[in-house]
Subunit: 230 residues, 2 copies
DNA sequence: CCATGCTCTGTTGCATACATCAACTGTAAT
DNA sequence: ATTACAGTTGATGTATGCAACAGAGCATGG
Protein backbone atom coordinates (compact mmCIF):
# COMPACT_ATOMS: atom_id res chain seq x y z
CA UNK A 1 0.00 0.00 0.00
CA UNK A 2 2.98 2.27 -0.16
CA UNK A 3 2.38 5.15 -2.49
CA UNK A 4 5.96 6.33 -2.28
CA UNK A 5 6.85 5.27 -5.76
CA UNK A 6 8.40 8.04 -7.75
CA UNK A 7 10.17 6.00 -10.31
CA UNK A 8 7.51 5.79 -13.00
CA UNK A 9 8.61 8.18 -15.69
CA UNK A 10 6.46 6.65 -18.36
CA UNK A 11 3.01 8.22 -17.95
CA UNK A 12 4.30 11.79 -17.81
CA UNK A 13 2.39 15.04 -18.07
CA UNK A 14 0.55 14.75 -14.81
CA UNK A 15 -0.26 18.43 -14.69
CA UNK A 16 -2.12 20.51 -17.17
CA UNK A 17 -2.30 19.53 -20.81
CA UNK A 18 -1.56 23.02 -22.00
CA UNK A 19 1.31 21.90 -24.22
CA UNK A 20 -0.93 19.53 -26.10
CA UNK A 21 -3.60 22.13 -26.81
CA UNK A 22 -0.98 24.64 -27.80
CA UNK A 23 0.75 22.27 -30.12
CA UNK A 24 -2.50 21.33 -31.78
CA UNK A 25 -3.43 24.97 -32.17
CA UNK A 26 -0.06 25.75 -33.66
CA UNK A 27 -0.62 22.97 -36.15
CA UNK A 28 -3.58 24.92 -37.46
CA UNK A 29 -2.51 28.55 -37.19
CA UNK A 30 0.95 27.88 -38.58
CA UNK A 31 -0.56 26.47 -41.72
CA UNK A 32 1.04 23.07 -41.23
CA UNK A 33 -2.44 21.63 -41.42
CA UNK A 34 -4.15 23.19 -44.40
CA UNK A 35 -7.82 24.19 -44.47
CA UNK A 36 -10.10 21.31 -45.28
CA UNK A 37 -7.62 18.83 -43.96
CA UNK A 38 -8.96 16.08 -41.75
CA UNK A 39 -7.61 15.93 -38.23
CA UNK A 40 -8.20 12.30 -37.33
CA UNK A 41 -8.22 11.66 -33.62
CA UNK A 42 -6.46 8.33 -33.89
CA UNK A 43 -3.64 9.70 -36.00
CA UNK A 44 -3.15 12.69 -33.71
CA UNK A 45 -3.25 10.45 -30.66
CA UNK A 46 -0.47 8.35 -32.08
CA UNK A 47 1.54 11.33 -33.25
CA UNK A 48 1.45 12.99 -29.85
CA UNK A 49 1.76 9.74 -27.95
CA UNK A 50 -1.41 10.17 -25.93
CA UNK A 51 -4.83 8.62 -25.90
CA UNK A 52 -7.76 9.88 -27.93
CA UNK A 53 -9.43 11.45 -24.92
CA UNK A 54 -7.13 14.46 -24.44
CA UNK A 55 -7.00 14.91 -28.21
CA UNK A 56 -10.77 15.10 -28.32
CA UNK A 57 -10.86 17.65 -25.53
CA UNK A 58 -8.32 19.82 -27.31
CA UNK A 59 -10.14 19.59 -30.63
CA UNK A 60 -13.36 20.70 -29.01
CA UNK A 61 -11.60 23.73 -27.68
CA UNK A 62 -10.18 24.53 -31.08
CA UNK A 63 -13.69 24.31 -32.44
CA UNK A 64 -14.81 26.83 -29.86
CA UNK A 65 -11.99 29.07 -31.01
CA UNK A 66 -13.28 28.85 -34.54
CA UNK A 67 -10.17 27.15 -35.88
CA UNK A 68 -11.64 23.78 -36.76
CA UNK A 69 -15.05 22.42 -37.63
CA UNK A 70 -16.28 19.22 -36.08
CA UNK A 71 -18.76 17.43 -38.28
CA UNK A 72 -20.45 14.92 -35.99
CA UNK A 73 -19.80 11.31 -36.73
CA UNK A 74 -17.53 12.34 -39.56
CA UNK A 75 -14.44 14.10 -38.32
CA UNK A 76 -12.67 17.31 -37.44
CA UNK A 77 -11.51 19.53 -40.27
CA UNK A 78 -9.33 22.59 -40.39
CA UNK A 79 -11.60 25.50 -40.97
CA UNK A 80 -11.14 28.05 -43.70
CA UNK A 81 -12.80 31.36 -42.96
CA UNK A 82 -15.20 32.56 -45.61
CA UNK A 83 -14.73 35.86 -47.33
CA UNK A 84 -17.47 37.40 -45.23
CA UNK A 85 -15.96 36.13 -42.01
CA UNK A 86 -12.61 37.65 -42.87
CA UNK A 87 -14.34 40.94 -43.52
CA UNK A 88 -16.14 40.68 -40.19
CA UNK A 89 -12.94 39.83 -38.38
CA UNK A 90 -11.26 42.90 -39.81
CA UNK A 91 -14.14 45.06 -38.65
CA UNK A 92 -13.66 43.64 -35.19
CA UNK A 93 -9.92 44.07 -35.39
CA UNK A 94 -10.33 47.71 -36.23
CA UNK A 95 -12.52 48.24 -33.21
CA UNK A 96 -10.33 46.30 -30.80
CA UNK A 97 -7.04 47.84 -31.86
CA UNK A 98 -8.66 51.24 -31.77
CA UNK A 99 -9.63 50.56 -28.19
CA UNK A 100 -6.12 49.38 -27.43
CA UNK A 101 -4.58 52.54 -28.83
CA UNK A 102 -7.04 54.64 -26.89
CA UNK A 103 -6.25 52.88 -23.63
CA UNK A 104 -2.54 53.01 -24.24
CA UNK A 105 -2.68 56.74 -24.93
CA UNK A 106 -4.61 57.20 -21.73
CA UNK A 107 -2.06 55.27 -19.71
CA UNK A 108 0.65 57.73 -20.62
CA UNK A 109 4.28 56.78 -20.24
CA UNK A 110 4.63 53.05 -19.96
CA UNK A 111 7.40 50.70 -21.04
CA UNK A 112 5.31 49.38 -23.92
CA UNK A 113 5.41 52.83 -25.45
CA UNK A 114 9.18 52.68 -25.65
CA UNK A 115 8.84 49.25 -27.21
CA UNK A 116 6.61 50.69 -29.87
CA UNK A 117 9.05 53.49 -30.61
CA UNK A 118 11.87 51.01 -30.84
CA UNK A 119 9.77 48.85 -33.13
CA UNK A 120 9.07 51.70 -35.51
CA UNK A 121 12.79 52.42 -35.65
CA UNK A 122 13.48 48.84 -36.61
CA UNK A 123 10.76 48.99 -39.21
CA UNK A 124 12.39 51.97 -40.83
CA UNK A 125 15.64 50.03 -40.92
CA UNK A 126 13.97 46.97 -42.43
CA UNK A 127 12.28 49.06 -45.08
CA UNK A 128 15.54 50.73 -45.96
CA UNK A 129 17.17 47.33 -46.29
CA UNK A 130 14.20 46.07 -48.28
CA UNK A 131 13.81 43.08 -45.95
CA UNK A 132 10.17 42.13 -46.30
CA UNK A 133 10.16 39.11 -44.00
CA UNK A 134 11.83 41.06 -41.22
CA UNK A 135 9.31 43.83 -41.70
CA UNK A 136 6.42 41.39 -41.55
CA UNK A 137 7.63 40.18 -38.17
CA UNK A 138 7.99 43.74 -36.95
CA UNK A 139 4.45 44.55 -38.04
CA UNK A 140 3.21 41.61 -36.06
CA UNK A 141 5.17 42.75 -33.02
CA UNK A 142 3.91 46.30 -33.39
CA UNK A 143 0.27 45.34 -33.22
CA UNK A 144 0.90 42.83 -30.50
CA UNK A 145 2.70 45.38 -28.37
CA UNK A 146 -0.08 47.85 -28.99
CA UNK A 147 -2.65 45.48 -27.58
CA UNK A 148 -0.46 44.33 -24.73
CA UNK A 149 0.18 47.92 -23.75
CA UNK A 150 -3.50 48.55 -23.30
CA UNK A 151 -3.27 46.61 -20.04
CA UNK A 152 -6.61 44.96 -20.58
CA UNK A 153 -6.30 41.22 -20.34
CA UNK A 154 -9.77 40.51 -21.68
CA UNK A 155 -9.07 42.63 -24.70
CA UNK A 156 -5.89 40.66 -25.20
CA UNK A 157 -7.74 37.37 -25.06
CA UNK A 158 -10.35 38.41 -27.59
CA UNK A 159 -7.68 39.86 -29.82
CA UNK A 160 -5.68 36.67 -29.80
CA UNK A 161 -8.76 34.65 -30.64
CA UNK A 162 -9.37 36.94 -33.54
CA UNK A 163 -5.82 36.89 -34.84
CA UNK A 164 -5.68 33.11 -34.70
CA UNK A 165 -8.67 32.96 -36.98
CA UNK A 166 -6.99 35.40 -39.32
CA UNK A 167 -3.69 33.52 -39.22
CA UNK A 168 -4.21 31.50 -42.35
CA UNK A 169 -5.45 34.51 -44.25
CA UNK A 170 -2.39 36.44 -43.18
CA UNK A 171 -0.10 33.66 -44.33
CA UNK A 172 -1.69 33.28 -47.71
CA UNK A 173 -2.24 36.88 -48.70
CA UNK A 174 1.03 38.73 -48.51
CA UNK A 175 -0.60 42.14 -48.38
CA UNK A 176 2.73 43.83 -47.90
CA UNK A 177 3.80 42.80 -51.36
CA UNK A 178 1.37 45.25 -52.87
CA UNK A 179 3.18 48.15 -54.53
CA UNK A 180 3.82 51.01 -52.13
CA UNK A 181 2.06 49.28 -49.27
CA UNK A 182 5.29 48.75 -47.38
CA UNK A 183 6.20 52.41 -47.05
CA UNK A 184 2.62 53.41 -46.40
CA UNK A 185 2.33 50.85 -43.62
CA UNK A 186 5.45 52.07 -41.91
CA UNK A 187 4.32 55.65 -42.11
CA UNK A 188 0.96 54.77 -40.63
CA UNK A 189 2.65 53.00 -37.75
CA UNK A 190 4.69 56.12 -37.14
CA UNK A 191 1.54 58.19 -37.10
CA UNK A 192 -0.06 55.83 -34.61
CA UNK A 193 2.96 56.10 -32.37
CA UNK A 194 2.87 59.87 -32.53
CA UNK A 195 -0.83 59.93 -31.77
CA UNK A 196 -0.34 57.75 -28.73
CA UNK A 197 2.62 59.79 -27.56
CA UNK A 198 0.48 62.88 -27.75
CA UNK A 199 -1.69 61.25 -25.08
CA UNK A 200 -4.85 62.00 -26.98
CA UNK A 201 -6.96 58.83 -26.69
CA UNK A 202 -9.48 59.75 -29.35
CA UNK A 203 -6.81 60.84 -31.81
CA UNK A 204 -4.87 57.63 -31.17
CA UNK A 205 -7.98 55.55 -31.68
CA UNK A 206 -8.98 57.18 -34.94
CA UNK A 207 -5.49 57.00 -36.34
CA UNK A 208 -5.26 53.32 -35.52
CA UNK A 209 -8.65 52.58 -36.96
CA UNK A 210 -7.81 54.30 -40.18
CA UNK A 211 -4.68 52.20 -40.41
CA UNK A 212 -6.54 48.93 -39.89
CA UNK A 213 -9.15 50.04 -42.39
CA UNK A 214 -6.46 50.56 -45.01
CA UNK A 215 -4.87 47.26 -44.13
CA UNK A 216 -8.21 45.61 -44.65
CA UNK A 217 -8.58 47.13 -48.07
CA UNK A 218 -5.18 45.89 -49.11
CA UNK A 219 -5.91 42.49 -47.68
CA UNK A 220 -9.16 42.30 -49.59
CA UNK A 221 -7.41 43.21 -52.81
CA UNK A 222 -4.77 40.58 -52.20
CA UNK A 223 -7.45 38.05 -51.42
CA UNK A 224 -9.18 38.85 -54.70
CA UNK A 225 -5.93 38.31 -56.52
CA UNK A 226 -5.71 34.89 -54.95
CA UNK A 227 -9.24 34.03 -56.00
CA UNK A 228 -9.99 31.32 -53.52
CA UNK A 229 -13.46 29.89 -53.48
CA UNK A 230 -14.63 30.34 -49.87
CA UNK B 1 -18.32 21.02 -49.03
CA UNK B 2 -21.63 22.70 -49.64
CA UNK B 3 -22.77 21.41 -46.30
CA UNK B 4 -22.74 24.23 -43.85
CA UNK B 5 -23.79 24.39 -40.26
CA UNK B 6 -27.45 23.90 -39.69
CA UNK B 7 -27.72 26.85 -37.33
CA UNK B 8 -28.46 25.18 -34.04
CA UNK B 9 -30.05 27.88 -31.98
CA UNK B 10 -27.51 30.45 -30.88
CA UNK B 11 -24.79 32.17 -32.86
CA UNK B 12 -22.15 31.24 -30.34
CA UNK B 13 -23.04 27.60 -30.42
CA UNK B 14 -21.07 26.16 -33.28
CA UNK B 15 -20.78 22.87 -31.50
CA UNK B 16 -22.11 19.48 -32.17
CA UNK B 17 -24.06 18.43 -29.08
CA UNK B 18 -25.31 21.82 -28.09
CA UNK B 19 -27.89 20.71 -25.53
CA UNK B 20 -25.47 19.48 -22.89
CA UNK B 21 -23.00 22.32 -23.24
CA UNK B 22 -25.80 24.86 -23.26
CA UNK B 23 -27.42 23.43 -20.19
CA UNK B 24 -24.15 23.41 -18.32
CA UNK B 25 -23.44 26.97 -19.39
CA UNK B 26 -26.89 28.05 -18.31
CA UNK B 27 -26.18 26.50 -14.94
CA UNK B 28 -23.38 29.00 -14.52
CA UNK B 29 -24.69 32.14 -16.19
CA UNK B 30 -28.11 31.84 -14.61
CA UNK B 31 -26.59 31.90 -11.18
CA UNK B 32 -27.93 28.48 -10.28
CA UNK B 33 -24.37 27.47 -9.57
CA UNK B 34 -22.82 30.16 -7.42
CA UNK B 35 -19.23 31.36 -7.78
CA UNK B 36 -16.78 29.20 -5.93
CA UNK B 37 -19.08 26.23 -6.15
CA UNK B 38 -17.55 22.92 -7.12
CA UNK B 39 -18.81 21.34 -10.30
CA UNK B 40 -17.95 17.71 -9.77
CA UNK B 41 -17.89 15.65 -12.92
CA UNK B 42 -19.45 12.62 -11.29
CA UNK B 43 -22.35 14.54 -9.85
CA UNK B 44 -23.01 16.36 -13.11
CA UNK B 45 -22.76 13.12 -15.05
CA UNK B 46 -25.43 11.61 -12.86
CA UNK B 47 -27.62 14.69 -12.93
CA UNK B 48 -27.61 14.89 -16.72
CA UNK B 49 -27.72 11.13 -17.20
CA UNK B 50 -24.57 10.90 -19.26
CA UNK B 51 -21.06 9.70 -18.69
CA UNK B 52 -18.22 11.80 -17.35
CA UNK B 53 -16.59 12.15 -20.75
CA UNK B 54 -19.02 14.58 -22.39
CA UNK B 55 -19.24 16.46 -19.10
CA UNK B 56 -15.49 16.87 -19.09
CA UNK B 57 -15.46 18.15 -22.65
CA UNK B 58 -18.15 20.68 -21.86
CA UNK B 59 -16.40 21.86 -18.72
CA UNK B 60 -13.19 22.42 -20.66
CA UNK B 61 -15.09 24.60 -23.07
CA UNK B 62 -16.62 26.58 -20.25
CA UNK B 63 -13.13 27.12 -18.92
CA UNK B 64 -12.10 28.50 -22.30
CA UNK B 65 -15.08 30.82 -22.11
CA UNK B 66 -13.88 32.09 -18.77
CA UNK B 67 -16.90 30.85 -16.87
CA UNK B 68 -15.25 28.19 -14.74
CA UNK B 69 -11.80 27.50 -13.43
CA UNK B 70 -10.34 24.03 -13.62
CA UNK B 71 -7.79 23.38 -10.92
CA UNK B 72 -5.94 20.25 -12.04
CA UNK B 73 -6.46 17.22 -9.88
CA UNK B 74 -8.76 19.22 -7.65
CA UNK B 75 -11.93 20.17 -9.44
CA UNK B 76 -13.85 22.62 -11.56
CA UNK B 77 -15.18 25.70 -9.84
CA UNK B 78 -17.55 28.42 -10.93
CA UNK B 79 -15.46 31.47 -11.59
CA UNK B 80 -16.14 34.86 -10.12
CA UNK B 81 -14.72 37.71 -12.16
CA UNK B 82 -12.45 40.06 -10.29
CA UNK B 83 -13.20 43.74 -10.04
CA UNK B 84 -10.56 44.51 -12.62
CA UNK B 85 -11.92 41.94 -15.02
CA UNK B 86 -15.38 43.43 -14.81
CA UNK B 87 -13.93 46.81 -15.58
CA UNK B 88 -12.06 45.39 -18.53
CA UNK B 89 -15.16 43.64 -19.80
CA UNK B 90 -17.10 46.88 -19.70
CA UNK B 91 -14.39 48.62 -21.68
CA UNK B 92 -14.70 45.90 -24.28
CA UNK B 93 -18.47 46.07 -24.20
CA UNK B 94 -18.38 49.76 -24.90
CA UNK B 95 -16.18 49.20 -27.91
CA UNK B 96 -18.15 46.28 -29.31
CA UNK B 97 -21.57 47.86 -28.91
CA UNK B 98 -20.23 51.05 -30.37
CA UNK B 99 -19.16 49.08 -33.40
CA UNK B 100 -22.54 47.41 -33.55
CA UNK B 101 -24.36 50.73 -33.52
CA UNK B 102 -22.07 52.07 -36.19
CA UNK B 103 -22.64 49.10 -38.45
CA UNK B 104 -26.36 49.15 -37.88
CA UNK B 105 -26.54 52.86 -38.74
CA UNK B 106 -24.61 52.14 -41.91
CA UNK B 107 -26.95 49.36 -42.93
CA UNK B 108 -29.87 51.74 -43.04
CA UNK B 109 -33.39 50.42 -42.95
CA UNK B 110 -33.43 46.86 -41.70
CA UNK B 111 -36.01 44.91 -39.69
CA UNK B 112 -33.86 45.07 -36.58
CA UNK B 113 -34.30 48.81 -36.57
CA UNK B 114 -38.04 48.42 -36.25
CA UNK B 115 -37.43 45.95 -33.45
CA UNK B 116 -35.37 48.53 -31.64
CA UNK B 117 -38.05 51.16 -32.05
CA UNK B 118 -40.65 48.76 -30.79
CA UNK B 119 -38.43 47.87 -27.87
CA UNK B 120 -38.01 51.49 -26.84
CA UNK B 121 -41.78 51.89 -26.94
CA UNK B 122 -42.18 48.94 -24.62
CA UNK B 123 -39.53 50.35 -22.33
CA UNK B 124 -41.45 53.57 -22.02
CA UNK B 125 -44.49 51.56 -21.10
CA UNK B 126 -42.61 49.52 -18.51
CA UNK B 127 -41.15 52.64 -16.96
CA UNK B 128 -44.58 54.25 -16.78
CA UNK B 129 -45.89 51.12 -15.09
CA UNK B 130 -42.88 51.01 -12.79
CA UNK B 131 -42.18 47.41 -13.73
CA UNK B 132 -38.49 46.98 -13.09
CA UNK B 133 -38.18 43.32 -13.99
CA UNK B 134 -39.96 43.82 -17.29
CA UNK B 135 -37.69 46.75 -18.00
CA UNK B 136 -34.59 44.72 -17.22
CA UNK B 137 -35.63 42.16 -19.81
CA UNK B 138 -36.27 44.89 -22.34
CA UNK B 139 -32.86 46.37 -21.73
CA UNK B 140 -31.34 42.99 -22.38
CA UNK B 141 -33.32 42.65 -25.60
CA UNK B 142 -32.38 46.14 -26.72
CA UNK B 143 -28.67 45.50 -26.54
CA UNK B 144 -29.04 42.08 -28.03
CA UNK B 145 -31.01 43.40 -30.97
CA UNK B 146 -28.47 46.13 -31.43
CA UNK B 147 -25.68 43.61 -31.81
CA UNK B 148 -27.73 41.25 -33.93
CA UNK B 149 -28.66 44.07 -36.24
CA UNK B 150 -25.02 44.77 -36.98
CA UNK B 151 -25.05 41.69 -39.18
CA UNK B 152 -21.57 40.67 -38.07
CA UNK B 153 -21.58 37.13 -36.78
CA UNK B 154 -18.08 37.30 -35.33
CA UNK B 155 -19.02 40.40 -33.41
CA UNK B 156 -22.03 38.54 -32.10
CA UNK B 157 -19.93 35.64 -30.92
CA UNK B 158 -17.44 37.81 -29.09
CA UNK B 159 -20.26 39.83 -27.58
CA UNK B 160 -22.01 36.78 -26.26
CA UNK B 161 -18.78 35.48 -24.75
CA UNK B 162 -18.39 38.79 -23.02
CA UNK B 163 -21.95 38.99 -21.75
CA UNK B 164 -21.79 35.48 -20.36
CA UNK B 165 -18.84 36.49 -18.26
CA UNK B 166 -20.75 39.51 -17.06
CA UNK B 167 -23.90 37.51 -16.36
CA UNK B 168 -23.29 36.95 -12.68
CA UNK B 169 -22.32 40.55 -12.17
CA UNK B 170 -25.50 41.65 -13.89
CA UNK B 171 -27.57 39.43 -11.67
CA UNK B 172 -26.01 40.56 -8.45
CA UNK B 173 -25.77 44.28 -9.01
CA UNK B 174 -29.17 45.64 -9.85
CA UNK B 175 -27.85 48.80 -11.37
CA UNK B 176 -31.28 49.88 -12.44
CA UNK B 177 -32.35 50.24 -8.86
CA UNK B 178 -30.14 53.28 -8.50
CA UNK B 179 -32.20 56.45 -8.11
CA UNK B 180 -33.03 57.98 -11.46
CA UNK B 181 -31.06 55.42 -13.40
CA UNK B 182 -34.20 53.90 -14.85
CA UNK B 183 -35.42 57.02 -16.59
CA UNK B 184 -31.93 57.96 -17.68
CA UNK B 185 -31.37 54.54 -19.17
CA UNK B 186 -34.56 54.70 -21.19
CA UNK B 187 -33.74 58.13 -22.47
CA UNK B 188 -30.28 57.03 -23.53
CA UNK B 189 -31.76 54.11 -25.42
CA UNK B 190 -34.05 56.53 -27.19
CA UNK B 191 -31.09 58.69 -28.12
CA UNK B 192 -29.24 55.66 -29.47
CA UNK B 193 -32.24 54.77 -31.58
CA UNK B 194 -32.48 58.28 -32.95
CA UNK B 195 -28.78 58.34 -33.74
CA UNK B 196 -29.03 55.08 -35.64
CA UNK B 197 -32.13 56.22 -37.47
CA UNK B 198 -30.25 59.31 -38.56
CA UNK B 199 -27.93 56.92 -40.40
CA UNK B 200 -24.85 58.63 -39.03
CA UNK B 201 -22.48 55.80 -38.04
CA UNK B 202 -20.09 57.91 -36.02
CA UNK B 203 -22.87 59.66 -34.15
CA UNK B 204 -24.53 56.32 -33.43
CA UNK B 205 -21.28 54.89 -32.17
CA UNK B 206 -20.46 57.75 -29.87
CA UNK B 207 -23.97 57.88 -28.44
CA UNK B 208 -23.88 54.17 -27.72
CA UNK B 209 -20.46 54.34 -26.15
CA UNK B 210 -21.50 57.14 -23.90
CA UNK B 211 -24.45 55.06 -22.78
CA UNK B 212 -22.30 52.02 -21.99
CA UNK B 213 -19.85 54.25 -20.19
CA UNK B 214 -22.62 55.55 -17.95
CA UNK B 215 -23.90 52.06 -17.40
CA UNK B 216 -20.44 51.04 -16.30
CA UNK B 217 -20.27 53.83 -13.82
CA UNK B 218 -23.58 52.82 -12.29
CA UNK B 219 -22.52 49.21 -12.24
CA UNK B 220 -19.31 50.08 -10.48
CA UNK B 221 -21.18 52.06 -7.87
CA UNK B 222 -23.59 49.21 -7.34
CA UNK B 223 -20.69 46.79 -7.10
CA UNK B 224 -19.10 48.94 -4.43
CA UNK B 225 -22.33 48.93 -2.50
CA UNK B 226 -22.25 45.17 -2.57
CA UNK B 227 -18.67 45.10 -1.30
CA UNK B 228 -17.70 41.70 -2.51
CA UNK B 229 -14.15 40.60 -1.98
CA UNK B 230 -12.96 39.67 -5.49
C1' DC C 1 -0.62 22.91 23.56
C1' DC C 2 1.36 22.95 19.10
C1' DA C 3 3.81 21.29 15.17
C1' DT C 4 4.55 17.55 11.97
C1' DG C 5 4.01 13.54 9.40
C1' DC C 6 0.84 9.92 7.88
C1' DT C 7 -3.35 8.02 6.27
C1' DC C 8 -7.50 8.23 3.88
C1' DT C 9 -11.00 9.89 1.00
C1' DG C 10 -12.58 12.32 -2.96
C1' DT C 11 -11.68 14.00 -7.39
C1' DT C 12 -9.58 14.40 -11.69
C1' DG C 13 -6.43 12.52 -15.83
C1' DC C 14 -5.91 9.20 -19.00
C1' DA C 15 -6.48 4.80 -21.28
C1' DT C 16 -9.21 1.42 -23.21
C1' DA C 17 -13.52 -1.14 -24.71
C1' DC C 18 -17.66 -1.08 -26.92
C1' DA C 19 -21.66 0.91 -29.60
C1' DT C 20 -23.01 3.62 -33.44
C1' DC C 21 -23.08 5.66 -37.65
C1' DA C 22 -21.11 7.99 -42.08
C1' DA C 23 -18.80 7.06 -46.22
C1' DC C 24 -17.10 3.88 -49.40
C1' DT C 25 -17.24 -0.19 -52.50
C1' DG C 26 -18.77 -3.67 -55.11
C1' DT C 27 -22.65 -5.75 -57.29
C1' DA C 28 -26.76 -5.95 -59.75
C1' DA C 29 -30.65 -4.04 -62.06
C1' DT C 30 -32.36 -0.65 -65.44
C1' DA D 1 -23.09 3.26 -68.74
C1' DT D 2 -25.52 4.89 -64.92
C1' DT D 3 -28.00 4.40 -60.79
C1' DA D 4 -29.73 2.09 -56.69
C1' DC D 5 -28.64 -0.57 -52.86
C1' DA D 6 -26.69 -3.36 -49.39
C1' DG D 7 -22.37 -5.00 -47.02
C1' DT D 8 -18.07 -3.51 -45.21
C1' DT D 9 -14.87 -0.56 -43.11
C1' DG D 10 -13.23 2.73 -40.38
C1' DA D 11 -14.05 6.59 -37.93
C1' DT D 12 -16.29 8.98 -34.00
C1' DG D 13 -19.38 9.09 -29.50
C1' DT D 14 -19.75 7.28 -25.07
C1' DA D 15 -18.99 4.50 -21.01
C1' DT D 16 -16.10 2.74 -17.61
C1' DG D 17 -11.76 1.20 -15.13
C1' DC D 18 -7.57 2.33 -13.02
C1' DA D 19 -3.94 5.31 -11.31
C1' DA D 20 -2.24 9.78 -9.59
C1' DC D 21 -2.75 13.64 -6.91
C1' DA D 22 -4.68 17.34 -3.56
C1' DG D 23 -6.50 18.27 0.67
C1' DA D 24 -8.65 17.15 5.05
C1' DG D 25 -8.38 14.70 9.22
C1' DC D 26 -5.97 12.13 12.65
C1' DA D 27 -2.31 10.36 15.22
C1' DT D 28 2.07 11.13 17.24
C1' DG D 29 6.01 13.35 19.15
C1' DG D 30 7.96 17.54 20.96
Amino acid sequence: MQQSMATTTQPATPGTDAPLLDRLRRLVVSGTALPGELLAETALAEEFAVSRTPIREALKQLEREGLVEIRPRVGTFVRKPTRKEIFELFELKESLEGLAASLLARRGDVPELRSLAHNVENEREAVRAGDRTAYATLVHDFHRTLVTGADNRKLGEHYELLMNQLAYHRIVTQTLSLPGRLDASMDEHRQILLAIQSKDPLFAELTTRRHISRTRESATIAAFAESDDA
